[in-house]
Structures are given as C-alpha cells and as structure tokens.
Symmetry: C2
Amino acid sequence: MTVITAMHVLDVRAPTSRTLAGSDAVHSDPDYSVAYVVLATDDPTLRGHGFTFTLGRGTEVVGAAIRALEHLVVGRDLDSITAQFGQWHRELTNESQLRWLGPDKGVIHLAVAAIVNSVWDLWAKREGKPVWQLVADMSSQQIVDLVDWRYLSDALTKQEAVALLDDLMPTRDARRAQLERDGYPAYITSAGWLGYSDEKVRRLVGESLDSGFTRFKAKVGISVDDDLRRVSFMRELLGEDRPLMVDANQVWDVDQAIEWMSHFQDLGLQWIEEPTSPDDVLGHATIRRAVAPIGVATGEHAMNKVLFKQLFQADAIDFAQVDACRLGGLNEVIAVLLMAAKFGVPVCPHAGGLGLCEYVQHISAIDFIVVSGQLDGRSTEFADHLHEHFVDPVRVVGGNYQLPSLPGYSAEMHPDSLAQLAFPHGTTWVETHEC
Amino acid sequence: MTVITAMHVLDVRAPTSRTLAGSDAVHSDPDYSVAYVVLATDDPTLRGHGFTFTLGRGTEVVGAAIRALEHLVVGRDLDSITAQFGQWHRELTNESQLRWLGPDKGVIHLAVAAIVNSVWDLWAKREGKPVWQLVADMSSQQIVDLVDWRYLSDALTKQEAVALLDDLMPTRDARRAQLERDGYPAYITSAGWLGYSDEKVRRLVGESLDSGFTRFKAKVGISVDDDLRRVSFMRELLGEDRPLMVDANQVWDVDQAIEWMSHFQDLGLQWIEEPTSPDDVLGHATIRRAVAPIGVATGEHAMNKVLFKQLFQADAIDFAQVDACRLGGLNEVIAVLLMAAKFGVPVCPHAGGLGLCEYVQHISAIDFIVVSGQLDGRSTEFADHLHEHFVDPVRVVGGNYQLPSLPGYSAEMHPDSLAQLAFPHGTTWVETHEC
C-alpha cells in the first residue's frame, strides 16, 4: 500500500522567447514551461513527478486546474488507482462539476495529464521500471484496462484491442531487444524554427547531419516565398532521400492550405503538419485528398481520443502526432495508439517542448514493442534543448532515441532547475525583472 | 472615447446541488455558478458586466484564465475594440502564449466569452440599447466584421454572409415588430430534471402548462425503463401535439445511443439532445441517420465555430444549440448563426443555468430579426430559476420570451446577490460552512 499524502504544484518557465527557440507561425514568442506536479507518499523515499507542457503565460491557470482535482488524488492508495486505472481516469475526467470546463479538452485535460503522468511516474518508480517497461510487462487485458473506453466502441472495442495486443505478444521480446540495440528513430525540429536566420538554419542542419540525424522538419506558413527558399535549401543540404517535413502550426484555412502546398509538390515532403485548425477533422480529410502524395499530419493540439477517433474514421491523416500532455495522460495516449494500430496510421509523437522528449520516448517504445509492432513511416520528434533540467534526460545517439533505463517516466526535474525556473520568483525571472 | 480602466473578476456560486435542480445523467450535483466580470471605465457611470456559466468547482480556474487575458483588455479604448471587433476577438483567442491552453476551447475559451460578453454589455449600455437591438441596427458589413473568419471559408465566406444578411435586411423591421408583439417561443427544461421524483415532475409539468408553456424537455440516460416511464407520462400529460424533447447529456456511445432511442420511436420526440460525446461529429451523423424521424440536437458543449462548421458540413444535427459562453462570446455565436442559416439548421440556444436565459434571449432575437428570419422548428431553452439575481431578468409570458428593453446584455447581477453568492465568503457559503 502506497498512500498519496500530498500533491504539490509548481509553475516552471524557461525563458526561450529570448532566443526565439520554438517560434513558429502562430507561436511567436513561447517561453517553454510546465505546470509541474510532485506527488508525496507515506514512503518518504518515494515520490511521483509529472507535468503538463505550456508556453509561459497561462501556466498558472493549468496549476489552478490541477489543484481543483486534488480531492480525487490526495488520500488515495496507489494500488486502488492502478488496479482500475481506466475507471480512475474516468473519475478524473468526469468530476461532476469540473467536467463542464471541458469535457476532455483544454486546460482541465492538460491538468488531468499532469496528474495522471505523475501517477505513472510514481507507479513505475515503485516497481523499479521505466514506464515503457512497466507497460511492456503487462498482459493484454491489463493494458486494455488502463483505458476509459467510453465513446470509442464504434471505432474499436475492448475485445478487438485485446486481440490486437495478443497477436503481438509472442514477438514483444524481439522488438524490445531491437530497441535496446538500435534505439528509436528521431527527427529533428530545432534546426528549422521560424525565427532563425537562414545562416543559423544552415549551420544547425549541418551540425545535425554530422550528429547522425537523417530526418528534418521546417516551420512554414508566414510567407510562401520565404518558405520555398528555406525548404528548398534544406532539401539541397539533405539530398533527395532524407525525409523532410514542414509544419504550418494551424495557420491556414482549408483552401489556403491546399493552394500553399501546391507550390511544394516537387520537394519530396513527407508531410505537411497542422495545415489548419486542429479541430477540423473534415478539413484535414479534404486537404489530405488534395495534397497527396504529401502526407497530412496532426495531433499536438488534438484534444482527446474522440478527435483522434474521427481523424482515423475519416481517413483524414497519414501520421498521428500524439502529445503526452494534450491527451489526458498516458492512459488516453494508449487508447489512441490502439486505434491508430487498427486503422494502420503511424504514430509519430509530438515533442520538443520542455520535457516532452523525455515523455514521448516511452510512448514510442510502447507503440513499437506492444501496440503496432512497426517502425515503418515512424519517427519521434526531437528538439535539442532544455534536457539539462531533467534528472534522466533523453539520450539521442546517431539520430536515435536510446531506451530509457531508470525507473519512472523520465519526468523528474533537478531541484536546481526548479529553483532557477520557478515563476515568478526563480532566479531566471527575478534577474529579468531587475534588468 | 471610453477607456476600460479595470477588470474585476468574481467567483459567484448558487447552491443548486442542495435541491438537485439541474441534475442530469452526467451532472449529478451542479452548483450553478458564474465567473463574473465587471469592466470599469473612465466614465464612473458606465460599467460592463458579463460572465461565463460554470457548475461550481472550477469557477476559480476560469477566473484565473480571465485574469490571464487582462493585458489585452485593460487600457483599451472601447471604440478601438468595437471598430474591428472580429480582429480583437482573434487577438484574444490567439494570444501567443495562452493559445496553447486551447486553442478556442475549454477554460480559456470560456474566459474569452466572459470578457467578450462584458464588452458587449458595456458597448450596448453606452449606446443605450439592448444588445439584440445594437446588432439589429447594424449594416450587413458591420455584422460580418464582428467575426474572426479564420477556418470558416470552406463552409461560408464573408461575401456569402453579407449576401445572406442583405437578403433579410428589408424585412428586419417587420420581424422586430413581431417579436415585440408575440415574444420568442421558449421550451421548458426545469420540469424534468433527472433528480426530481415523478410526482414533482407531474406537478411542474401541470404548472408549466397552466403558465402557457407548450414545449417540454426531459432528462434521460440512466435507465431505459425509468426514462420510458417518465417520458411516457410526460407525453400523456402533454397530449400528442405539443413538442417533447429528451436530453442524454453525452452519456452514450454511438451504438448505445441508437439502441436506446429505438425504444422511444413511438413517443413523438422532436429531438434527442447530446446523445454522445459533444466532440463526435461523425458519431452524431451516424446517430442522426439511425434515429430519424427523431431529430438530433447538440451544442451546449460544442466548443467552437470549427466544431459547428463540421456538424453542419456532415449533416450531423437537426438543431444547433449554441451556448452563449461555451463559444467565445457573442461574436462567435453570430458566426455560428450565419453558418446555421446557410445550412438551413434551426438554432435553439442552450440555456437554463445561472444567467444563460438572460443572454440567449438576445441571441434568438438576433437570429430571427437579422440572420435566419425564421421561427420554424425554433425555440429557446428556459429554466425557471435564479432569475431573481439579475437586474434585468428575463420575462417569459405565455411560454414566450419577451424582448428585453433595457440597455446591455442583461448580464448584470444585483449587488445583494453577489454578496450572497460570492464564493467562498458570501453569506450563502459561510452559513453552509457553519452548518
């Protein structure tokens, strides 16, 4: 028995807007941040850490939402949660008064993610395993019971999910060994932020190639001429065969996306990411039909499993970019992985923000070892910054994520980093105010 | 020139859970609440009042989100906002760091609604008109400029919207006179809350019939047998011809909704409301095809204009139940009214919570006078409670909303009510704690 005795919430912000790291067509000045959760237990040596990623302002709003859910967390026995984890997930997302704030979307769902992911970290630490392994060691039925199945049965039933997982069970160990040997393929975003000069992009692409990266993404969407120039020279630097993707961060209407992408048909792009509103299932389907063979990708703003369900049902996307925090924690991510496997859509998780790479390495490992069993068309986003703040940071070697080996969800931050980045009283922010 | 000099945010909660008023299949114990906004100006006699409706816990989270938007509001000249209101709406919803918390959904969008609606109240008070009249006195182009058109052009262009409004311009005055004479048809929900006994429902239906109501709605979704008993005796009390609707509040999966409603085909129901997840466009379309001639209605949880766009494009609903706060304020409501008119879907606004009836009477008047020009199939929800807290409460006579005549958006609450319901220090709540 492990009782959760307290839930601490911290507002942690990195001043990334000072360098335009992370800048794109709609996020001009992000300060990569997290609403950070620490679960204390009756075992003084055991704590759970989790967070939800944010862009600076508003982190305090997510913090307020996390605190509003405290009565469903503090005082609970960890085993009573994990024994019926899918049901507890529904308790969190269907709190009878808080549900109105979503349901299952936006701030309240980001808050659920921070809590749920911190419970995963706690559970995995207690079991002495990294989260990916905790799941990889489960039976098919145990995995299916992680999910709240409401609203999914017209796309995927529990029984279908068990069958799908059972099929891959005999070969799990081989895939685990493969990841332990080779790692999981990454693509790099941090060479192509929109706020960077051409010179800086050229230099970063060169350095990334030297480090072994073979897959790259560029931000687009402000000026078609600038986009063409930038993407064209990136294609030249990469040669014909290396995957290159572009990301418009939701800036276009449906028809505008189709027109814009018509200029890019000769550049061998793997996907156009977030061409329009993340909520527009039918719009993505229309765009996908029009821009093929360029693929369509979305998901970092896909608010919940019901939206992903529809993206799959409508043949709207070629790549599903699940986010570790946008969805209500790992349980809902697993629901989406299962649907993606049934519909044959590769999952390429969104990452790059503060701590997101640390989370998604587990998600991709679970997808490959347990759920889809495939690497074809798959790669996981990587941005090369802010990892120094984490106790168990990602290790990317030769362009591949190395399997994490420490217990937990790789979400724990260094005490020094928390002291530095705490908002508004951390040293980073106090110094700013003094200037 | 009218400068907004301060924005005050209040947490106001009515203890409705004590009587089970408002109870339904997923909201078992709502405390009808508002995150209440007061805009002060450089004119000490002029203030704007607005709010977003909530269910109790979590109102403080919406309050935090409203405060996070303060820098886009305080210090602004009212005319600089209203002259380009659609553009300002986009500024609010696309704040470069806060956008991540949505975009355009959940807590941050509820916060936008409270602010935007308080600006409408302020504007209308300064012009000395009720909000419906402020809009009814605008040109077609002025109305179209209220809207942020991003993401809508594949369903409705600005030009189409202007043409649609121009067509109805010559007959606006006649419809206004009609509403001033007859009022706007209401349907009543407060007779059929799920937590009420059969006896109480019978008594309330009888009283409502005596008051002139002819349209009724019942909550369903917990037990098919209980639902059938309740809906059958309501049908008996109402006779064959009076409209009767049922509302499941999102409790079913798609297939389950279809099966459940198969038991209700002989009861002459006008619609099944919220049969499944409010996010499930394709699911609603599937249900609609299966349950006809019972109509499908949704919207009180439809998070934004992009979701409504898809509900229209997919022929997923027979009735669009816009909410005055779920959408990001009146500007976005007008965008949905315009799309609904093009697609020929009647708008029947959601109401019933604290203050929602006060808002939606304006919306229905705008829809009839300016946008759709029709009453066929339309009625506006009404629940008979909590109106005493408003300075300009709704007046419903013979089952019809009477046109409001005082300047503003009817959103201002009595100071005594605020003192009573303020959470957690108002007299209502302090007394509770003492018990």
